[in-house]
């Protein structure tokens, strides 16, 4: 029994970081309707920039972290301007391919500059583990979850209570009406991209601190797609809940069926859910106008 509890807890907690990555994806989908296949690469780039700042330039870790956030924010603005703006009218597959193209560029760029080796970035959080009887929760898992929970809570509050948050939500649900009400759509969409990049960087740094920094980091984001479909692509709450569930299922699978099952168990669950609720648990059914 304690085994089951341990796997379950570990899964739920690691789902916190998946929730961050899912948040990064859902922010963009909800705000601009773009499917961003480059979330993993942005995450990875943020982590590499943090490493560059902290180790190559010798800055204190917190300063490097803030600088990495800044650079990613700038990059997000650049990408939004240069790539997404010209493609705004195109069919879904075109925009999807554009983000895949972006992902390739970032991946290739990272490999060209830093190579394929694995690095160990300095950790920002303490590593005290939690011991409850037979169950041991490692310090990184706890720390990552705490940061993720704080950040997500902050975002939920931001969207609910702050003017900018409400403006972003308005732009997401109906750009035309939002524009007539005086909200600057361009700024709103740009801000969405910047926020998404920042969240991705945090997730990347968290993962890199525990798993090491290498170009393989980007593949950690693939699990997020299972969570996104499960939760509904345009629901922030759905992304969070679904990430926790996917984390839980993955950990149980890894514990009882072996690590190989991690690749496949979340997707089987996803396909099963799609049969019953095709738009995910919390996703809104899109209304098409003829």
């Amino acid at each position: 029994m304690s085994e089951f509890l341990e796997y379950a807890l570990l899964g739920l907690l690691s789902g916190g970081v998946t929730a961050l990555v899912a948040l990064s994806f859902v922010l963009i989908y909800k705000g601009t309707g773009v499917v961003n296949f480059a979330v993993g690469e942005v995450m990875m780039l943020g982590a590499y920039l943090y490493y560059a700042g902290a180790v190559t330039f010798g800055l204190p870790p917190w300063a490097a972290f803030v600088i990495a956030l800044g650079v990613i924010g700038l990059l997000a603005v650049l990408v939004e301007r240069a790539v997404l703006r010209p493609l705004s009218g195109q069919p879904t597959v075109a925009v999807l391919m554009a983000t895949i193209g972006m992902a390739s560029i970032i991946h290739g760029g990272v490999e060209a500059v830093w190579g394929g080796d694995t690095y160990t970035p300095p950790t920002l959080l303490p590593r005290t583990p939690l011991l409850m009887g037979d169950i041991l929760i490692p310090g990184t898992v706890l720390g990552n979850f705490a940061v993720a929970a704080l950040l997500i809570g902050g975002f939920l509050a931001f969207f609910r209570y702050s003017r900018t948050g409400i403006a972003l939500r308005a732009t997401a649900s109906d750009p035309v009406t939002a524009s007539t009400l005086g909200i600057n759509i361009n700024y709103a969409q740009r801000l969405t991209w910047v926020l998404s990049g920042l969240v991705g960087t945090v997730a990347g740094v968290l993962i890199a601190s525990s798993a090491g920094l290498s170009p393989l980091l980007a593949s950690a984001a693939l699990a997020v797609f299972a969570a996104i479909i499960l939760g509904g692509m345009d629901s922030v709450l759905g992304a969070i809940v679904a990430s926790l569930i996917v984390g839980l299922v993955e950990a149980l699978g890894a514990g009882y069926l072996g690590g190989k099952s991690r690749d496949v168990v979340p997707y089987v669950v996803v396909l099963a859910i799609l049969v019953v609720r095709p738009y995910g648990m919390f996703g809104s059914r899109s209304i098409e106008r003829l």
């Binding site: 080796d117 798993a211 290498s214 393989l216 980091l217 690590g259």
Partner: protein
């Protein structure tokens, strides 16, 4: 008006881009006749690039070094390599391209699937001998893959060496052994051999954990491992990650098992990182390390690198592996030239199989027997925290 200008500009750039490479390509330098050509498809970019760069350097530097010592019976070695990005399509295309253009006598490839894909063509051509860094048992097969040799023992042999060492060291108190490996060929190939030998020696394997190749989040796997309370953990298939994370999390649970590995998992990134965590890595390696001084060839390697590549701080086993392959290529070529036989597959194979007491200049601690198209030799090394390097912990074991 501007759009027409833009269109013309784009068209001319497009034309130049399409024709340019072919124009450049036709102006390649001519090769010298009589050179012995070694072709290679190296994964300099892509997922295997940390190894590919070292492998490319190893063969390149061996050829340069050998040429500086007079070549092979006066004939120079010429190294032609291209980047394959660890993709099968590209590596096979590179093989065909270099075979057609340069007519190499030797070819170095990047992966097991490459070897399997080109074997039929290589045997049909009958003029080339191949090698690769892969230690997979499926390619050390003189009957089905007659043109290929493995520059070392295969993964199952390495694990057998490890098991023998464990049995001898621990004696009567049989330690609880756990296997942690990656779900790739590098990870899986050696495990059945190791398990079989462990069973024969009566060593209990209490847990077998398989992780994804990327191994990003391993907390549930560590939890499972913790419950088995192993005394020894053998890692296979990882160069660095997730070994430190495993050790850290087990340490938080109060466990400090002996960590062991083989071959590429005993390289500097691994033993440095684990050393920092207070763990002394040990394992079965097939070559001497680059910092050891009792081998003539390793000293030569160090000298050459110090002179020509001063920014290379440590010699990776991938470098040694391809250097060694170059040595075997040169030895086979020398043997054929001495016997006045042309460099065709039957003669080269015969020359390889007659190398039963071959001196590798100290890379292997004993004389190597290549008649089985592999070298089943290995030695146990252990990390010495005082010297911050791997030191020999046993004599050379032959399996």
């Amino acid at each position: 008006m501007a759009s027409i200008l833009r269109r013309k500009l784009v068209q001319s750039i497009g034309a130049a881009a399409t024709l340019g490479p072919f124009a450049i390509g036709s102006s390649q330098a001519q090769a010298h006749k009589g050179d012995i050509v070694i072709g290679a498809a190296q994964p300099i970019t892509g997922v295997f690039s940390f190894a590919g760069v070292a492998m490319n350097m190893g063969l390149n530097d061996y050829c340069a070094w050998r040429n500086s010592k007079g070549g092979v019976m006066g004939r120079k070695l010429r190294y032609v390599s291209e980047d394959s990005g660890f993709k099968l399509d590209q590596s096979v295309a590179i093989f065909k391209k270099i075979m057609a253009a340069e007519k190499p006598s030797f070819f170095y490839g990047e992966s097991t699937q490459w070897v399997k894909a080109i074997t039929q063509d290589a045997v049909a051509a009958g003029t080339v001998m191949t090698s690769s860094t892969s230690l997979a048992s499926v390619v050390a097969d003189p009957v089905n893959v007659p043109q290929h040799f493995v520059p070392g023992p295969t993964y199952p042999r390495l694990h057998e060496i490890l098991m023998e060492y464990i049995a001898k060291t621990y004696g009567a108190n049989k330690p609880r052994i756990a296997y942690v490996y990656a779900d790739t060929e590098f990870g899986r190939d050696g495990i059945p051999g190791g398990k079989a030998r462990a069973q024969k020696l009566g060593l209990p394997i209490v847990e077998e954990i398989v992780t994804k190749q990327a191994g990003i989040d391993v907390a549930p796997e560590v939890a499972k491992l913790r419950r088995a309370r192993p005394d020894i953990i053998i890692f296979q298939g990882y160069i660095l990650a997730p070994m430190p994370e495993f050790v850290r999390q087990l340490g938080e649970a109060g466990l400090k098992p002996q960590i062991m590995g083989t071959a590429w998992g005993l390289d500097r990134p691994a033993y440095d990182a684990l050393g920092k965590l207070g763990v002394n890595l040990a394992g079965a390696s097939m070559y001497r390390y680059g910092h050891e001084t009792d081998s003539d060839m390793i000293n030569q390697m160090r000298e050459y690198l110090a002179k020509n590549r001063p920014d290379v701080k440590s010699i990776s086993p991938f470098f040694i592996s391809s250097w060694l392959s170059g040595m075997v290529f040169a030895a086979v070529a020398e043997s054929c030239i001495k016997a006045n036989k042309p460099l065709t597959l039957p003669h080269m194979k015969a020359a390889l199989e007659s190398m039963k007491q071959w001196d590798s200049g100290g890379i292997f601690g004993q004389l190597a027997d290549l008649s089985g198209h592999q070298v089943p030799l290995g030695r146990i090394y252990a990390y010495d925290p005082a010297k911050q390097a791997m030191e020999p912990a046993s004599g050379w074991i032959k399996v």
